[in-house]
Amino acid sequence: MEDKYEKIEQYLMNELSIREQVKFEEDLRKDPELRREYELRKEINDAIQEDDVMELRDSLDQVMKKQPVFSNKTRKIYLISSVAAALVVILVISSKVFFSAGSQKSSALYERYYEVYPVIMSFRSTNEGAEEKDLLYKAFASYDIKDYNQASQYFESIAQQDSTNYLSRFYLSICKIETNKLNEAEDYLSELTVKNNHIFWEQAHWYLAMVYVKKDKQNKAREILHKIVQQNMAKKKEAKDILKSMK
């Protein structure tokens, strides 16, 4: 039997002479048990070459072990506790008076932590209709070359056509930050932080905090940064660092 297995392995690795190969293929046709063993070993080889799937499984393991999952109920509790925590912080801080050096400090923090959100996908392979693809393509192309005014217009048209389009609203808010239209950025980002039914929910918190830092609205920035830390969102470490620097 061991000989048989070894033959299968040699065949799979192309280690047999042509004559041996022909003989082996003939045996495969005649012997169903050998055929089954061959299929199994071939499948195993295919499976263990799937480095990408194994990596994805590892990444998901990490994500699922590390992250607490919030049901709507617990999220509400978290929200209440984070608002309460923020109120305490606000009270403590308001007793200290906010320095004239505050705005200088804020701008340094902003410079240090703010980074424009990258284009995270390629739309080349999508099957969207030509018009939609075209708009998005132009929006991301403009965004990519840092023409944020132009990109804003494209993202705005997409957002107008579909009010539930979180992707375009999120990128639009970044364009607004980049073009220094902070009030508009704040509006878009505040909207995006209301419900967690989209994938930019965490990032929207971070950028909203950045907007508040830039506008030197320190109490509001703190409130959002605390929420990021408490709910273990993306940029938690950076949020902690900023909160420390703000003390």
Binding site: Y5, E6, E9, M13, L40, R41, E43, I44, N45, D46, A47, I48, Q49, E50, D51, D52, V53, M54, E55, L56, R57, S59, L60, D61, V63, M64, Q67, V69, F70, S71, N72, I120, M121, S122, F123, S125, T126, E128, E132, L136, I158, Q161, D162, T164, N165, Y166, L167, S168, N196, N197, H198, I199, F200, W201, E202, Q203, A234
Partner: protein, 187 residues
């Protein structure tokens, strides 16, 4: 246009973008957990189902074989319900309640073959990970068709014949692990 969010999710899965995976988990897991735990499952079962759901979607996305006509929430729900139903059937549990579960009524475009392949490969990969690192390495190098003398050098082994022998032994060990797994016998 509504499907743009779907696209970013699918691209995120295809690119294994950790941030997007994390967001997907935080946004959608609680629904899957409820469905599994309402139907004889534990939280761990829910995590396994969710993980395999994402992996099946990844495989489909990689092959360009995914067609989302509904929201991603409905889609992943449908895929996970399909997986959980198959597992309940294997465990000989009643699936009647699950079949009546129409919170997000959607027919997933997952075929039995896709499900089966994923289950089999998951089993093989699980046991592959149990092998010693050297064994994993030598098998992968062989399968990547790296020349024998290079494998010997990488592995720090002088004799090429010994490398071949080691590869064979590692593969046999892997096959043994797999054949001894009760789940393999069920298949």
């Amino acid at each position: 246009m509504k499907s743009l969010d779907n696209k970013i999710i699918i691209e995120g899965i295809r690119n294994q973008d950790k941030q997007i995976l994390k967001n997907i988990y935080q946004t959608y897991f609680s629904t899957i957990k409820r469905m599994v735990m309402d139907n004889y499952g534990s939280e761990q079962d829910a995590k396994d189902v969710f993980q395999e759901g994402i992996i099946i979607i990844y495989r489909k996305a990689k092959e360009g074989n995914i067609n989302l006509t509904s929201s991603f929430k409905s889609y992943i729900y449908g895929v996970c319900r399909y997986i959980w139903k198959k597992q309940l059937t294997q465990r000989k549990e009643n699936t009647e309640k699950l079949e009546g579960y129409v919170e997000y009524e959607v027919i997933p475009d997952v075929t039995f073959d896709e499900y089966e392949k994923n289950e089999q490969y998951k089993l093989y990969q699980k046991h592959f990970k149990r092998l010693e690192k050297d064994c994993q390495k030598v098998l992968q190098l062989f399968l990547k068709k790296v020349p024998l003398k290079d494998i010997a050098e990488i592995m720090g082994i002088e004799s090429q014949q010994y490398v071949k022998r080691k590869k064979y032994k590692c593969k046999e060990q892997l096959v043994r692990y797999i054949k001894n797994d009760p789940k393999f016998r069920e298949q």
